[in-house]
Structure formats: structure tokens, C-alpha cells
């Protein structure tokens, strides 16, 4: 039995398998190398970071991080956290009942509704940017974090609806019938019967919505100023300074990417589910 499996999955040739594993390792290292380089440079002094050929063994220092934190990044990081967390919460709050209406007790023409949600993801963001800007300007909503929260919610809602629908359609109908026989209300059914079954799906959706909101640049750049500036916008403003800045920029990039790196590494499987809109489980 085990020999058959080896034949089929291409591991009959031990030497060949060894080479393929080596190739896999090399490819993985090549892909992670720029990030490792960024991390190493962030701990070098500006003078050593700008050396050519590079000095790998240069003494390590926290100067890059020190000058990043001295430049006052906390308001923008706090803004990014607020926008990402609140918009993610809002997305789940809106998407969960919608996904319920599209899967467990589907409304008429539910596929049309589902494709309407997906089609909004295909409309280019830039084409709606101007009216949103003009509207925000006229009601004094520019440079307000709530504007970003609303926009990020609309940006991620279709993703969450698709994902949660895909998870909800796996909830066994018998459980729901039992709940309705017992006279449970809709809210109660959602909360105590459906939610536990789809909690993994909610976690995936929340992870992916958080990452996309945290990463967003175009809206944040156009619609915010000094008050509601987010971390990615802060990063772009970091390079304009004269003189050497490589170590500082690398330190800043590492710090700003850290929440996404931690969340993504901690939940790799959730990441796949989220990225594929729940098509892959």
C-alpha cells in the first residue's frame, strides 16, 4: 500500500525527491530574502546601510527604530488600528445576516444578489473617489477616520458576504429545523445555533478584512490629512527627507507590517480560506 502511494505521488525516486526538496528550500529562501534583508538593514546604522557592497556583519543598532518612533508615528498607527478594527466589526455585523439570507433561507434571486456584491469589487475604486471626496468636502467629513471606516466597510463587505455564505451553506439544515421547532427566534437561531458552526469562517473573514483595511493607501492618502492619517500614508511621507534614510525606512516598514505579519503567521489556514472567498476550506 505504501509503495503504491509513493509511486503515485512521485516519491519513488529518492534522489529526485531530495533534489526537489532542495529546490523548494531555495525558492522559499529567495522569496523571504528581501524581508530578511529589510530586517537586517533596519538594525544597521544609516552609514552601514548605505554601503556598497553591503556590510552584512556591521554592528547592530536600534537607531533606525529610535528615529522612526521619534518622528511621531503613534497617531497614525492608532488611526490605522481604529479604522481596521471598527470597519472589520461593521463588516461582520452586516455580512453575517446577509450571508444567512443568501444561504440558509435563501431569498429569491439570491445568486443575482451574490454576484452584485462581487461586481462591486470589480468596479475601480478610483472612479468613485471623486464624488466621495466632493461629498466629504461639502459636509466637512474630510480628514475624519469615520469616512475611512465606512469606505473600508464597503470595500470588504462583498468579500465577507461571499466567505460567510460559503461557510453557512455547510450548516446542516436539521439543526436549524430543530431550533425552529423549539420556537427559537431568528436572532436566537443566529446567535446560538448558526454562529458556533461558522465561527471559523467569521475568523477568516475578519482576518482578511483587517489585513486589507490595514494595507489600504489610495483612499487614506486622498481623504485624510494630518488628523486621520493612517500608517501606510505616514510611511510614504517618510522618504522625502534628505540624506540617508534606508535603515529608518526599513525599521518603519517592519513596524507597520508587524500586525499583519503576526496575524497572518498565526492563522495561515484562515488566510487561505479568506483569500479564496471561502471556496477553499
Amino acid at each position: 500500500m505504501s509503495s503504491q502511494v509513493t509511486i503515485v505521488t512521485g516519491r519513488k525516486n529518492r534522489g529526485g525527491g531530495f533534489v526537489l526538496s532542495g529546490v523548494a528550500w531555495i525558492v522559499g529562501i529567495l522569496f523571504v530574502l528581501p524581508v530578511v534583508w529589510m530586517l537586517l538593514t533596519s538594525f544597521h546604522s544609516e552609514e552601514n546601510a548605505a554601503k556598497n557592497p553591503p556590510d552584512i556583519a556591521a554592528p547592530l543598532t536600534l537607531d533606525g527604530y529610535r528615529s522612526f518612533f521619534d518622528s511621531g508615528p503613534w497617531p497614525s498607527i492608532a488611526n490605522s488600528l481604529t479604522a481596521s478594527i471598527l470597519s472589520t466589526a461593521l463588516v461582520i455585523l452586516l455580512a453575517f445576516p446577509a450571508a444567512y439570507a443568501l444561504s440558509i433561507r435563501p431569498v429569491k434571486k439570491w445568486t443575482d444578489v451574490l454576484f452584485f456584491f462581487l461586481s462591486t469589487k470589480m468596479l475601480p475604486v478610483v472612479a468613485g473617489l471623486l464624488p466621495i471626496y466632493l461629498f466629504a468636502q461639502s459636509v466637512g467629513f474630510l480628514d475624519n477616520i469615520w469616512l475611512l471606516i465606512i469606505l473600508y466597510t464597503s470595500m470588504n463587505l462583498p468579500i465577507a458576504v461571499w466567505m460567510l455564505r460559503s461557510f453557512l451553506s455547510e450548516v446542516p439544515v436539521e439543526i436549524l429545523e430543530a431550533a425552529s421547532v423549539d420556537g427559537a427566534s431568528l436572532t436566537r437561531t443566529l446567535r446560538s445555533v448558526v454562529a458556533p458552526v461558522v465561527t471559523p469562517g467569521i475568523a477568516s473573514a475578519a482576518l482578511i478584512c483587517f489585513i486589507f483595511s490595514w494595507n489600504e493607501l489610495l483612499f487614506a492618502r486622498v481623504l485624510t490629512g494630518t488628523v486621520a492619517q493612517t500608517a501606510p500614508v505616514f510611511l510614504t511621507g517618510f522618504v522625502t527627507s534628505q540624506g540617508l534614510f534606508l535603515a529608518k525606512v526599513c525599521a518603519a516598514s517592519i513596524v507597520v507590517s508587524l500586525p499583519v505579519l503576526i496575524a497572518g503567521f498565526a492563522a495561515q489556514d484562515k488566510l487561505v480560506q479568506g483569500l479564496s472567498l471561502g471556496a477553499v476550506k
Binding site: V8, S21, F31, V32, A49, F117, P124, S154, G264
Partner: protein, 321 residues
């Protein structure tokens, strides 16, 4: 109650008395429909207000003369904005750049992603570690990734690429200015680095959902590795390839971060999102930016209709299971 009413109607098909109870049943049904729709409505209304209304405004502004620098000249412009956008060489170039950038990034990262997924679909020492290393590029904030490529890798005087050249070839090593020489490819490579992990993750999940017993049987029946890949693995992967290509295109076609950071749209790399951003944000020509936006939306709808058709066949297969 409603069941009784309907039974009543059926008992007297032609009778006028059947009318009131019948409509009561319809009302009950309508109320039931609304109860079903209720959980959907907040999300639907939210999306219509935030994503559809702005487009209506964009269409209106696209027919107007409106430049924030000349507020007195605001008025109806007919189709002159559209004529200017379509005849403008910059816009046509931006369309071309958008197509090249999207096709280049999606195809390259799809092929690389497939090869790496095949490598990782085997058991070997450190497989989890390699997978973790592979997904790291996708977890770097896109602006940070673009800054990393521009300053730490491509930079001609202290970037890693030229540093490696000096290590290998000594002091006389060529020190090319990567971004000036190949501006579009510089952006494409940085984006392929970020998007290959995305494609790889979806395709790897696809590979791991293959029905192993069928493949085993094929192996016993004497099919070789290539035949198994060509006639079993690839057809199974088709829907995953389509899904990752579609999702990748949705994101890459709208790319702003990399173009903005690496070249600032210079050296002929301005794609449509960047061009519209500039028309609106720097030139303040609202009418023209809107006309360009409308044209992009029309183009996207044409392409998306084909894309959605392929997804919906996929989707029907899934629901009919």
C-alpha cells in the same frame, strides 16, 4: 391559518368568495418574503449607497466642465471630456500599461505559484517552514514592500542587487539603474513577488483537495507522472486557477501603491488608477477625471462579464453538488 385559507381557495376555484382569503394568503407570503429579506437589507442598502451612488455622480460630473482651479467655468460640457480622454495619448498609454501590468503580474505569479505549489505538495523536511517563508511577501504592507524594492533592492548606489553584483564581479561590476532602465518590469517584479504567494496558497489548497484514490488507481493502471498531471491534476486545478487569476486580476488591475511608490507614475509607467488619481488630485480637472473613470468602469464591466461568467459556471457546479 394561511394554509386553511389556501385550501379554501382551491375548494372553490371559480368563486368570487375565494378572493379575500386568497389575498390574505398572498399577504402572508409577502410578509414571509420580507422576513427572509430583512437580514439581507442592511448590507445591500449600505453597498448601494456607498458604492453605486458615487458612480451616478461620476457619470453626471463626466458631462460637466469642472476644474477646481477655475470655479467660474463650471457648466455642461456635453461629450467633450470623453473626446479629450479618448484622444489623449497619455490615457491610451495608461490603458496599455494597465493591461501589460495586470497580465504580466497575474500570468507570471500564476505560473510561479503553480510550480511552487507542486513543489510544496510533497512531504519533505521543513515543508511548513518553507510554506511560512513563501507567504511572508504577501504579509508585508504593500507600500512597505514597494519602498523595500525601490530603496533597499533596486537603488543603484546602495541597493542589494548592485551590492550582490559587486560581491561577485568585484569593483568593476556593472551597476545598472534598474528602475530607470526597466521601469515597468521593476514594478512587475515587485508585484510578482507579492502575488506569487497568493496564487501558491490557493493552488496548493486545490492540489491537496485532489481525490487521491483516483490518482492512485491511475498510477496502478500505468499512467506516468506527466499523464497524471496533464489529464487529472490540471483539469482538477482548473477552477482554482480561474479563481486565483480572477481574484488576482481584481486587485492588480487597481494597483496604485506600487506605481505611486516605485516610479510615481513616471517613465511611462502610469496606469489608469494612477492617471485618474493625478487628473483629479494634482490637476483638479474633475470633469475629465470622471470621464476617464466612466470609461474605466465600462471597460471593466465588459471584461468582468466574461470573468463572472466563468465564475458562475464554477459556482453552479459547486451548488449542484
Amino acid at each position: 391559518m394561511s394554509v386553511d385559507a389556501e385550501a379554501d381557495t382551491e375548494a372553490r376555484p371559480g368563486g368570487r368568495h375565494a378572493q379575500p382569503p386568497g389575498s390574505e394568503g398572498a399577504m402572508m407570503r409577502r410578509a414571509g418574503d420580507w422576513a427572509r429579506r430583512a437580514p439581507l437589507l442592511p448590507a445591500l442598502i449600505f453597498m448601494i449607497i456607498v458604492t453605486q451612488l458615487p458612480f451616478v455622480v461620476t457619470i453626471i460630473v463626466s458631462f460637466m466642465d469642472w476644474n477646481a482651479y477655475y470655479p467660474d467655468e463650471r457648466g455642461f460640457a456635453g461629450i467633450s471630456n470623453f473626446r479629450r480622454v479618448i484622444t489623449d495619448a497619455n490615457t491610451r498609454h495608461a490603458i496599455w500599461v494597465t493591461i501589460l501590468l495586470t497580465a504580466g503580474v497575474v500570468l507570471l505569479s500564476l505560473v510561479l505559484g503553480l510550480l511552487i505549489a507542486l513543489l510544496l505538495d510533497r512531504k519533505f523536511r521543513g515543508r511548513g517552514a518553507v510554506r511560512t517563508m513563501m507567504i511572508t511577501p504577501f504579509l508585508i504592507v504593500p507600500v512597505a514592500a514597494a519602498l523595500l524594492w525601490k530603496h533597499a533592492l533596486y537603488n543603484p548606489s546602495y541597493g542589494l542587487f548592485n551590492g550582490v553584483l559587486k560581491w561577485i564581479f568585484g569593483d568593476n561590476a556593472p551597476q545598472p539603474d534598474w528602475i530607470s532602465n526597466q521601469p515597468l518590469w521593476s514594478i512587475i517584479f515587485a508585484l510578482v513577488w507579492q502575488w506569487t504567494p497568493f496564487m501558491m496558497l490557493i493552488l496548493l489548497a486545490g492540489l491537496q483537495s485532489r481525490p487521491l484514490d483516483v490518482i492512485e488507481a491511475a498510477g496502478i493502471d500505468g499512467a506516468n507522472q506527466w499523464e497524471i498531471f496533464r489529464y487529472m491534476t490540471l483539469p482538477h486545478l482548473r477552477q482554482y486557477l480561474e479563481l486565483s487569476a480572477l481574484l488576482g486580476s481584481i486587485y492588480v488591475v487597481q494597483n496604485f501603491d506600487a506605481v505611486f511608490t516605485i516610479t510615481s507614475g513616471g517613465l511611462g509607467t502610469a496606469n489608469l488608477p494612477y492617471t485618474i488619481y493625478q487628473t483629479f488630485y494634482t490637476a483638479h480637472d474633475y470633469g475629465r477625471a470622471s470621464a476617464a473613470g466612466v470609461i474605466v468602469v465600462i471597460g471593466t464591466i465588459l471584461i468582468a462579464t466574461f470573468a463572472l461568467r466563468s465564475v458562475s459556471t464554477l459556482f453552479r457546479e459547486e451548488t449542484s453538488k
